[in-house]
Amino acid sequence: MNSGMNPLLLVTFFPLVGVLLILLYQKTWKSAIRWTALITSLVTFGLSLWMLSMFDPADPNIQMEINLPWFNLGGNQIGFHLGVDGISILMVLLTGFLTPIALLSTWKAVEDRIAGFMAFFLMLETGMMGVFLSMDMALFYIFWEFTLIPMYFLIGLWGSKRRVYAAIKFVLYTMAGSLLMLAGILWVGLQYGGFDLTKMDASLIPLSAQLWLFAAFGLAFAIKVPMWPLHSWLPDAHTEAPTAGSVILAGVLLKMGAYGFLRFNLPLFPEATLKLVPWMAALAVIGIIYGAMVAFRQKDVKRLVAYSSISHLGFVVLGIFALNQQGIEGAILQMVNHGLSTGALFLIVGLIYERRHTRELEEFGGLWKVMPVLGGLSLVVMLSSLGLPGLNGFVGEFSILLGAFNSDFLASPWFAGVATIGVILAAVYLLHMFQKVFLGPVTKEENLKLKDLSLREILTLAPILVVIFWIGLYPKPFFLLMSPAVEKLTTVFQTLALAAH
């Protein structure tokens, strides 16, 4: 892109325009603040679509690059280097898509300090976009750490009862990983000539160093995903965060971890990746089963959905470490799918919570009779989450399992075999939840008077449902976007495997 405007810069920083406007408003202009935030995020989504229109799906390389020197630290150039490729483009679109939806869900739910809420939310969007678009490790780290600040405040200020505990736990957990990643970044930068990802040559890094670096980066990403046994921050953060925060946390922030594996660990430390594949896959499978089983035992709906995330993200990690076309493509698509279905599940929990101010499973039952519209929409979302054919979840999970079965690197069909049990368990806990909440007779007095969804609330869920059906019925355009880039990524492993034979 030599001529014309570059969309990446705008996609990343346009939300800050909204922040600026909101901070200039009077505190009492509540609806102006809401509309400004919503419009800003919609424009950002529009900008990300503009980026999509300029994206060439056939090109496996980084596109629409912006590479400006930022500054030179002791001989290391730190560049302001943005770019997009087939691996990150869906993440950028997902971020752009989910942010306005999350904001729309706060219309009635957030009344207190609304300017702060919206400002932090839009700052968070900038941070997330930056993470997915950075092509310089130092810049990536800055955006990565920066997302902590708004999320910390979103949980800590607008969360529910144990919010302070959850906010601090979230920050400390994430920082524990990312500080070691910083050590890794600095080391790579010093040893292998700089922080620019596109100039990095993996073959220069010896295996012993790769293993350490894989661990340093991998820990940060594994905490973010989160992989078992580093997951314990997630149920707290998800449960205590406000609805919109949970949507973005599950929808986008967790994907930053999985994306990190794809962007750093796989291409930069391929030999270490090959060595550690069985371990990573084993942790992923444990996560799938563990998350599902714990989810089944939850009494709090939101906690149930939170644990289901651990299970679902286990599939994503398994797909990534299948290291073949199907596995990684499935993983990327499943990242989008999980963002949509779990995002929608959190929205539904939020809608119920706004009406009943409780999330205990025992308090509900028979809601279908009182709120048929919500019931119908929830059924679709739930089925998408458990992977019913024809809906999006199936496509992703199927592709991942296929990849894991056929993988030359996992070297055992048992990983995929055990993971399949996770699909069944997902059906168990999700149907259990649906039954407890929506089916059966209405047992509680309070539930009889609940109002069904308003037009705005339907509008929040509708776009997600459209995409759920779209991916479920015709996923080809999504696969087309990523396949050249994934192919480029997987060839590295094929050549390495060939060389080893």
Partner: protein, 480 residues
């Protein structure tokens, strides 16, 4: 003594002469215009700052090698002058609040600053000792400025006793070095070392004593025990000045002396500095974790930050890393100075007339009652933790990079993990301010607010253009 000699120490000279003039002016002003003395003090500091800036890029040696004006000393001079200006502003507000307005305070402040500046430019162990005394003695008095309060008196006495002890150790070390090399001039010592014309036993004892003496001044563990009590007892504005100025001066001496003269001993000293850095980071951060008082928490956090700077300095013997080692220490000192002054300014704004209400508890609700102060404090806490986008992040980024470059990966990892610990107690301040209700009453005006906001803008603004500060720090090499 020539005109050139005088020109080389002009920033110091301006301060000393101005301080003497101020002493007389205050006799008259204290009755009629009590606000005049601080204003005049700032004028003197600005003059000194301008002179320092003029000296940028003009390295020279004067007084027969006793004084070395180079990038290093100029960088520190500018840092000290700006710190001084902020300290005057904070003292004016804080002392008015505590009802101990006294003009001689500003005179002492200028004397102390002149000692710090001299320390940065010292090319001789004797000058270092003189500078140490010139900067310390006024500080002993300043710490006891609020003499109606027992803690202030205690702080003054403690600082005096332990400070004198440390000065004596520096002097003792100097004597040993003189015995070993027959000179106290840093460059001649380096020469003697190169020619191996020294008595090694005496030389090593001297070096060890200097480590202890300077370790005391920068408050490195295990020479830190005076810090919490003195920082806590002294009036807050004095502490702000001490925590930044005295620490930077201590590092100035440490860096210059060791990177010039003791690189031969680096094989032995590396282990010593390694242990000092690790101890300082761990003890500083973990003890800060347990503090309930904001002043004590900041005191221990300042100990921890000394540990980070020491970490970069561990590799001082390595020729290839030394330039980065010094530059990253200076960069971090500047970042630490801006952040620290800001944090103390917020504390001063919250403090009451009787120097009470400085528990972390008392910040509860600040986010609602004083949003500007709370926002600034948040910036400082993030910068202390090293979270982007703040100057503190770049400071740590550069320090850790230097440590890794020097081959001290384990040290860097320890440093990174202790900064995770620090995240907990810094975030607790943010939790108090925003997530809890409280009855803190602050009038959002006055100099402490100005200082806090300006410091916050510097911490945030320079984070986007770190090259500005970095280039300046990187050019601040010691001319050897």
């Amino acid at each position: 003594m020539t005109i050139i000699d005088l020109f080389s120490i002009l920033p110091v000279l301006v301060l000393v002469v101005w301080a003497l003039f101020l002493l007389l002016a205050d006799l008259w002003a204290s009755r009629k215009l009590p606000g005049l003395t601080p204003i005049l003090a700032v004028v003197g500091l600005v003059c000194s700052l301008v002179v320092s800036i003029v000296q940028v890029g003009k390295p020279q040696s004067s007084f027969g090698g006793m004084i070395h004006v180079d990038g290093f000393s100029v960088f520190l001079n500018i840092l000290f002058a700006i710190t001084g200006i902020a300290a005057v502003a904070l003292a004016y507000e804080s002392f008015k609040n505590l009802k101990i307005q006294r003009g001689e305070y500003y005179v002492l402040l200028l004397f102390s600053l002149s000692g710090m500046m001299l320390m940065g430019a010292a090319g001789d162990l004797i000058v270092i000792f003189l500078a140490l005394e010139l900067l310390s003695i006024p500080l002993y008095i300043m710490a006891g400025m609020d003499f109606n309060r027992l803690e202030s008196k205690e702080a003054s006495l403690k600082y005096l006793l332990l400070g004198t002890f440390a000065s004596a150790i520096v002097l003792f070390g100097t004597a040993f070095i003189y015995g070993a090399a027959q000179t106290t001039n840093l460059y001649e010592i380096a020469l003697a070392v190169n020619l191996a014309e020294i008595n090694w036993t005496l030389f090593i004892i001297g070096a060890a004593l200097l480590v202890v003496g300077f370790g005391f001044k920068v408050a490195a563990v295990p020479f830190h025990t005076w810090t919490p009590d003195v920082y806590h007892g002294a009036p807050s504005s004095v502490t702000a000045f001490m925590a930044v100025g005295a620490k930077a001066a201590g590092f100035a001496a440490l860096i210059r002396v060791f990177s010039l003269d003791f690189t031969v001993l680096s094989e032995n000293l590396t282990a010593v500095f390694w242990a000092l850095a690790v101890l300082t980071m761990i003890v500083g951060n973990f003890t800060a974790l347990a503090q309930k008082n904001l002043k004590r928490m900041l005191a221990y956090s300042s100990i921890a930050h000394a540990g980070y700077i020491l970490m970069a300095f561990v590799a001082f013997g390595n020729e290839a890393v030394r330039a980065d080692s010094i530059a990253s220490a200076l960069f971090y000192l500047a970042a630490y100075a801006a952040t620290s002054i800001g944090a103390w300014a917020v504390l001063i704004a919250v403090e009451r007339e009787d120097a009470s209400r400085n528990e972390i508890e008392h910040l509860a609700g600040l986010g609602k009652t004083a949003p500007l102060l709370a926002a600034a404090m948040t910036v400082f806490m993030l910068s202390f933790t090293g979270i982007p986008v703040t100057l503190g992040f770049w400071g740590k980024f550069y320090l850790f990079r230097t440590a890794i470059q020097g081959g001290n990966i384990i040290l860097a990892v320890i440093g990174l993990l202790t900064s995770l610990v620090s995240a907990y107690y810094y975030l607790r301040v943010v939790v108090k301010m925003y997530f809890q209700e409280g009855d803190v009453k602050v009038s959002q005006k006055g100099w402490s607010l100005v200082v806090a906001v300006v410091a916050a803008l510097i911490v945030l603004g320079l984070a986007f253009i770190p090259e500005l500060l970095y280039k300046f720090a990187a050019s601040s090499l010691i001319i050897g």
